[in-house]
Symmetry: C2
């Protein structure tokens, strides 16, 4: 058995000049000429040329190369040789053995001209063929790990809250229902109720990265029926501003890690500069935002209580022009557009202690201080016309000493979209799920 310790990643070949090594990867291209045979091999770290001079009848290597197909998985042992005329780093591997570990059928089902839906059908090939698609997951790994690093240093505990719920959270719309041993269960739209429960359980600060599910028939570039949420909940806060401060510091920390690890690669593959944002981020109240937008002709009827995507882009452009900042917290959303459990500022029952965070005009987070006073919560639920029956487990959390708390939910895919300058969440999701897409 060849052990991976013998395998040299393509990016490390320069350190083995003149030595015999084993490389493992896929056949990207083949060029079979009269005297010479060339194959370009791609692994997860780069591409290298394999060069063989034909030996004529009986040359097993010649025959092996002749019968290769594009995207076959191969293991090649050979000598790393400097050759200044080779484009891929001035290196080539002169093979001694070629082993096909997984033969690819021909032709491949996708190529450069394939449309986006068919590329999703063959996502594993789509991602394999495009180094930048794989880079997105390396960036995701660093980004998440940077957020965890910040959160744990700040006292968070990692929780895994259930995705199966006995009652539909919130309104019941946009929730997936499933068969559960003869009854119904529902998929969590957010870990929010459970992370609040953890705060009530004495877990001071909660961190979770996990799937969330939305039965929304939305077909936009930024919606999915299943996506990865980054959730934080902070106990004993003095106000929602603490949640915003936590988020901006966490993002700045994580983006600094991404810049350290991937700025060059992101620049090369996506043409985007990774900027570590200054803190604090600009803040604008919803009332101010509407005022600013209306001066620019947005919502001339004055009918919109919430920002639509055009409004989000408009306020982001304004803040960018005024401050040079790409992030902005929009705060104090009207109670009419926020759920019953958002806390309201003292004396302003029409507003909530809430925020959205926009990055380059895209909403990446919703957060709030939650109402923790049982009587106020009951009143606000009644005001929104909600029956307390399905909310019983949630409401019970507030009857036995619940501290003030607040938190945020961030869409990881949206953060990646903006970070990499991509147009669609489909591009950063390994296997996208939408109303019309459940496969592969």
């Amino acid at each position: 058995m060849i052990r991976p310790t013998n395998r040299v990643p393509v990016s490390g070949l320069r350190g083995h000049l003149g030595r015999t090594v084993t490389i493992c990867g896929w056949v990207r291209t083949l060029r079979l000429q009269g005297r010479m045979q060339f194959a370009v091999i791609r692994d997860h770290t780069g591409m290298v040329q394999v060069t063989h001079r034909r030996g004529g009848p009986g040359d097993a290597l010649e025959a092996a190369l002749e019968s290769l197909t594009a995207e076959s998985a191969v293991r090649i042992t050979g000598t790393v040789t400097a050759n200044p005329i080779v484009k891929l780093g001035g290196l080539e591997v002169v093979p001694e053995s070629i082993e096909v570990l997984g033969r690819a059928e021909t032709p491949l089902p996708i190529d450069e001209r394939t449309g986006p839906e068919q590329r999703l059908d063959w996502r594993f090939l789509d991602v394999r063929l495009r180094p930048e698609a794989r880079l997105a997951y390396a960036v995701q790994t660093t980004l998440e790990q940077g957020m965890r690093e910040y959160a744990y240093a700040a006292g968070c505990v990692e929780m895994h809250t259930p995705k199966l719920m006995g009652t539909a959270s919130e309104s019941g719309a946009e929730v997936f229902r499933l068969d559960y041993f003869g009854r119904s269960a529902y998929l969590a739209q957010s870990p929010q109720f459970y992370k609040q429960m953890a705060v009530a359980a004495g877990i001071d600060r909660v961190f979770e990265i996990g799937p969330v599910f939305r039965a929304e028939p939305s077909f936009t570039s930024r919606h999915a029926t299943e996506f990865t949420g980054v959730d934080v909940e902070l106990g004993w806060i003095g106000g929602v501003s603490e949640v915003m401060a936590f988020e901006e510091d966490m993002l700045a920390h994580a983006l600094a890690r991404v810049a350290d690890a991937h700025a060059d690669a992101i620049g090369e593959h996506f043409g985007v500069e990774v900027t570590v944002p200054k803190t604090p981020f600009p803040r604008v109240t919803m009332a101010e935002a509407r005022e600013i937008l209306r001066r620019g002709g947005w919502d001339p009827a004055g009918a919109k209580a919430d920002l639509d995507p055009a409004g989000e882009r408009g306020i982001a452009a304004h803040v960018r022009a005024e401050t040079g900042h790409d992030f902005v917290f929009v705060t104090d959303y009207p109670a009419s557009v926020r759920p019953f459990y958002h806390m309201r500022p003292a004396g302003r029952p029409d507003l909530t202690c809430s925020f959205d965070l926009l990055w380059k005009g895209l909403e990446i987070t919703t957060g709030a201080q939650r109402e923790h006073r049982y009587d106020v919560l009951l009143r606000q639920a009644a005001e929104k016309g909600m029956g307390t029956g399905p909310l019983r487990d949630y409401l019970d959390c507030f009857r036995y000493g619940c501290p003030p708390h607040g938190g945020l939910g961030m869409g990881l895919g949206r953060v990646l979209m903006v970070l990499l300058g991509l147009d669609s969440i489909r591009e950063v999701t390994f296997l996208f799920r939408g109303p019309n897409r459940l496969s592969p």
Copy 2:
């Protein structure tokens, strides 16, 4: 607003002797005597006594303490005072202000005599009342982070694979079905197919921690319908032994981190010593295991192809006696008890390149090298009587150059159970889900 920067955790009070601080926590006990009032306050770091000498009529503090209820959430400002006769660390807080942030109703719905099911009904209180229950999540955080640290250093990329599938994986039994915009979707029993897809996509090594769902009507202490899985998939392996080597090194690394951070607390609260296991772990083939067990009277009819829980405990006891080791890999499971996609050793179609990892007699992992050759996979699926229709997306992955690969799935809750010496997975799961439990 009081900002958390002013808040001192109870464990940090000693550093503030003689100073005025604010503590936030829950009223654990009240002792209201003729001249003195005592309250013990618990936060996420410990407990401290608050001591007040009654001032008589007009003493607002006296009135505040008099009206407190157990488990109310309070914020208390006062002076940290040394008092050697106080049991809780020889410290007390002499209050200047007492604020009730969340009043608890009386009586509490659970106490020390409450049975396990009702404790689960009031899980947030159950966890709040027991410091060791909260310790489990701090340990979980360190354990996970230790595993990630190892996995990333070893070249893994963190993936979030979909939990919604268009077809039922494997046999279709034990899979939850849900309504998905007028059709059916299924909840993933494991990220396995998708992490294999990621390897086929050129993501060399895959790491994921996320929920997995099993529609199994099991009521044992080690089963749940939703639990947290730790999944790894390694591309380009030379054999399944590489997967086992990865796992034992990852566990040893993560357990060393746990020992560093929590050995004392785990000893104190659970009476368990955290041992960092030596590597390599002992290995025993399934054939050897059966042989050993039968000598001890297990399965006298010779009818069992797989280990039952008694067999797992028996082989663990044997290995422990022979080697002193608490871990053992049981390898080479018969093909009859393993799924079609497990690779079989050359010339032994009756066996698989697979393993389980037992820790103190409990199965915590199943792993295998996967069959990556399309034709062999088709043959093995047919042999198991499986139609290829629902497997189409899976099988297509192997048609265009799939390298050898293998991986493992570990139950995080089971690892925690054994690590903390607990009897049931319910104890380490924040909100347990079983056939009869979907709430809170």
